[in-house]
Symmetry: C2
Subunit: 252 residues, 2 copies
């Protein structure tokens, strides 16, 4: 089996930690990576503090195939990501003439003030990541991909960088709706199925729908035949519980 | 000024990293903590892997006043949080008779099988955190508060633990709607205001509404008078830009 392609996501911004902004990027990026067979292994959210961003980046970038970051690349004083990435790699931050050219597609030359020029700064050696929404680019340096925090802009950058990403073996998933059968009624058998399939990830996920637990079992892995075998085994235990009336069970 | 009260959040679960489940707890907990003057400083999302959970917990619990965790405390094989917390603290995991009593409020004695008993396991020395929704408790050990992943259950546990939490000086926030005035038009002046108020956190947050950037400036801090002074300074620069017609500016 080929080496897995892995990723971490670093979300940068006081506004996520204060609750002021509810993150919408983690779930989107998780889906995007899963579709490409890239395993998202870790997410961190850190504040707008250079030392914190540097420490997180250096912890993550040596460990995973890719690190994606969101947030902190605008023109204002609280946008610290570019300097932090430069510091993490030990390279100077420079103004990139290609980025200036992109900004000038949207900004009149007279309006390209010092603050706006900040949006053309990148760590030396970075490649630009285009932004079809508002031009100011993200960038990629080594295995780190730096994107905006505004979801529509982040998504445009992710689309721009997508063709250059290594893809992994796709992860396949099958879900079995378990309804109101309580987890405790099938946990032992499910654990035995999971133990028999160490290459698969088998999860049991409760949620509450209309005040009742509605459980779902998800079988994930790379091998469709092995997944099918595990799903059949799960369906057998669930069918037996249903036949025994456990889906009318009051205890959840 | 008293020492700040700080927190980290550790979200545990493969389902968040695969995108299968979209996290709803980070934003809720961020709001909850901010309302209590507790500064959420860091969030991590890790998979259902004991070594990963232990490493993240040990990195976080020595650094912040509190660590909250969500996920991984149910009866199934993929619920690993209790064992990971025990390993992080170097204490055995025991079956807690108080937790068994809580489970028996909902489960008939004959149905209390081995899997369900797993929900009564806690690291030795933990206090239980009650769960008004489905009885199976969370727990608190030292400064670590372990909660369920299902949002309604997590919220019930957070409500149960709330009275015992130390509160910090409340963080006050005021927002200034900037509309379509581009960040680049006020970034320099805003940076000067931020530099003059190092005790405050001043952020500029773009979002896209109806295809246009709609910026908002948020001033946060502990001292209402200092916040009011910074807000007045921000409003002065924004009013000047508006008077100059920059809110009709086409460039965003």
């Amino acid at each position: 089996m080929p080496e897995p392609v892995t990723a971490a996501l670093l979300v940068i911004g006081d506004e996520i930690l204060s609750g002021r902004t509810k993150d919408k990027n983690i779930g989107f990026i998780a889906d995007f990576l899963t579709e490409r067979g890239i395993d998202l292994r870790e997410v961190r959210v850190v504040p707008d503090v250079i030392a914190e961003i540097v420490a997180a980046l250096n912890a993550l970038r040596h460990r995973y195939t890719y690190v994606f970051t969101t947030g902190g690349i605008g023109p204002t004083h609280d946008d610290m990501t570019v300097d932090a990435v430069g510091a993490a790699f030990g390279v100077p931050v420079i103004e990139d003439p290609r980025a200036i050219a992109l900004l000038l597609q949207r900004i009149k030359p007279d309006d390209l003030n010092e603050a706006r020029r900040r949006m053309a700064r990148v760590p030396q050696g970075a490649e630009l990541v285009e932004n079809a929404v508002s031009k100011a680019p993200g960038f990629k340096i080594d295995n780190v991909i730096v994107m905006a925090g505004v979801p529509a802009v982040m998504q445009a950058m992710l689309a721009a960088v997508a063709p250059s990403l290594e893809m992994g073996l796709p992860t396949l998933a099958r879900s079995i709706a378990v309804g109101n059968i309580p987890e405790g009624a099938y946990a032992a058998e499910l654990g035995a199925i999971a133990a028999a399939h160490p290459n698969l990830s088998i999860g049991s996920y409760p949620s509450i729908v209309d005040g009742k637990f509605a459980n779902e079992i998800v079988v994930r892995g790379k091998d469709a035949e092995e997944i099918a075998a595990a799903v059949a085994a799960v369906e057998t235990i669930i069918a037996a519980l249903r036949a025994a009336g456990r889906d009318q069970y009051k205890i959840t």
